[in-house]
Amino acid sequence: MRSRPIVDRLLGVWGLLVIAFLFTPIAVIVVYSFNSGRLLASWEGFGLDAYSAALSNDDILSAVSVSVRAAAGAAVIAVVLGTLCGYALARHPGGRIGRLVTTLLALVLVTPEIVSGVALLPWFVSLGVDQNLTLFNSGWVRLVVAHSLFATAVVTFLVRARMQGMDSSLEEAAADLYTPPLRRFRSVTLPLLLPSVLAGALMAFTLSLDNTIISAFVQVSGSTSWPVYVFSAVRAGLRPELAAMSAVMLLLTLAALAAVALVLRRAGGSKETVGALSGVR
């Protein structure tokens, strides 16, 4: 018992060090977004030049807009497919379709991005060029489809975790009162699922915004996404504009995250959210 305070204090110091480690590069990017010099890494002076440069740079704005539109599309697809699938898996876990889908979704989660990227590029080319489905020559469609796969898996497991924590008596009561199936889903099931659906939508959106490797493969010229643009800038030379745009996006993401966290906290599901997110159930 005597060793307790020392070990506890060491653990506390370790915890703070890890948090500091996690925040170091973010703080650096935010600080350097106020660099008035021409190169990101060499500090010249404090100024807002980078922000005005970023917000008037057409390449940057178009890359961010491509990313945001792709993320919105991927989030919509992932929420629709994932909510239905997660609900089905929770209410009917033993079925053959259920087992097959669960296996496939788990495989999607553990496939390295590079493999998904090299698999989707030839597939889109053969669909779009050989089969003449011109839909798949659109950069937006390609990004949306490619980003929706991982996100669907995340939403499915979130919704399933939420649904499993809830018994079906409310739905059964509604059924016993002769509520038609669609109405039952809308006015009983969906409100119960809302926190996990929201969390899933936000995750799908941010995962898509973050995606570099798959996007680099499937994009077509003219639809360069923001991370791919940044990655090409790493080779060409980094300017403070990138940091400024990143700081703006960080602020927006944090606002969205805080809103969802508030909803989740009110619904009391933070633990299961983290659990489902991290694959532990």
Binding site: I19, L104, L149, D210, K271
Partner: protein, 311 residues
């Protein structure tokens, strides 16, 4: 009465629940199973000419022979080394942190700390990696500050080395390790630790023989979530490792993007999947052996105690 209840039950089954999973199944079949299957198929083909990417008129394993050449193997062993070291470091850093978060931090503060771990997770990882490039750069503020304080004599020389790549991957994948570890540790009933304490085990023994075995699912999930994406990642290495950061993912990518040799690139991708699967299997086997040794030894001890008290 029974017929009364049968009607709503029938209505309840209006949409069979299994059917609701079929849209996702169809989507995955079309955009996951088919394309990945195509990669396996391409890997058995060849690149017929300068302007064609692939052909499967003759099925051959030659691409695998080609893929396992010297360049690939050198890069592959480097990637595997970074993958294994990086994953191990993430576990070493993340385990005490997750334990602190799940056990020591007061419950009402836990949500805040958890949010702090999540914030970097949801910031663009490429941007964060660039942040490290700024920190490590020889003319950067950290290098200058440490020189003026007399802590180092020369500017930083860490950027574009394997050490920088390792720092970058540990940084980028650490939250993926912390989250499942936290969830697993948080689920362990605190009274089990108290019981172990009451029965005379000291803190280390409780940690090693009670807490750690119970946290096993979280450890396994964390190892998977870090190791798999890390093995395919070449972006972190390109930003922090420069020419030295040649990961195997870069080789695969260049076969598709520059060399336009889909057959060879596919074979490399398949080799990558197989090696990742083998590494996971080997780790799982090692984990099972460790668990067996631990429980086996403890059983013998218990038997000894029983004999001792009987005597």
């Amino acid at each position: 009465m029974t017929s009364d209840r049968r009607v709503p039950r029938a209505a309840r089954r209006a949409v069979p629940p299994g059917l609701l999973a079929t849209p996702a199944l169809a989507w995955l079949a079309l955009f996951f199973v088919a394309p990945v299957g195509l990669v396996f198929w391409y890997s058995l083909g060849r690149k017929p000419g300068l302007y064609q990417t692939h052909a499967n008129d003759v099925l051959t394993l030659d691409r695998y022979r080609e893929a396992l050449g010297d360049t690939f193997l050198t890069s592959f062993s480097g990637t595997l080394r970074i993958g294994v070291t990086g994953t191990a470091l993430c576990l070493a850093i993340g385990l005490p942190f997750a334990y602190w978060l799940a056990v020591k931090v007061r419950p009402h503060r836990r949500f805040v700390v958890l949010a702090l771990v999540l914030v970097p997770f949801w910031t663009n990882f490429l941007i964060r990696t660039i942040g490290w490039q700024v920190v490590l750069s020889p003319e950067g503020f950290a290098s200058r500050a440490m020189q003026s304080l007399g802590l180092i004599d020369a500017p930083f020389s860490m950027l574009f080395t394997r050490g920088a790549v390792l720092l970058g991957v540990v940084y980028n994948y650490l939250p993926m390790m912390i989250l499942p570890l936290y969830v697993a540790l948080d689920r362990i009933d605190g009274s089990l630790r108290e019981a172990s304490n009451d029965l005379g085990a000291n803190r280390w023994r409780t940690a090693l023989q009670v807490t750690l075995p119970l946290a096993r699912p979280g450890i396994a999930a964390g190892l998977l979530l870090v190791f798999i994406p890390l093995m395919g990642d070449y972006v972190t290495a390109a930003v922090l490792g420069g020419a030295r950061g040649n990961m195997v993912g870069q080789l695969v990518a260049s076969q598709f993007q520059q060399a336009q040799n889909w057959a060879l690139g596919s074979a490399m991708a398949v080799v990558l999947i197989v090696v990742i699967a083998l590494t996971i299997l080997a780790t799982a086997a090692a984990g099972a052996v460790c668990t067996w040794l631990l429980t086996h030894r403890r059983r013998r001890e218990l038997a000894g105690i029983a004999e001792g008290s009987a005597a």
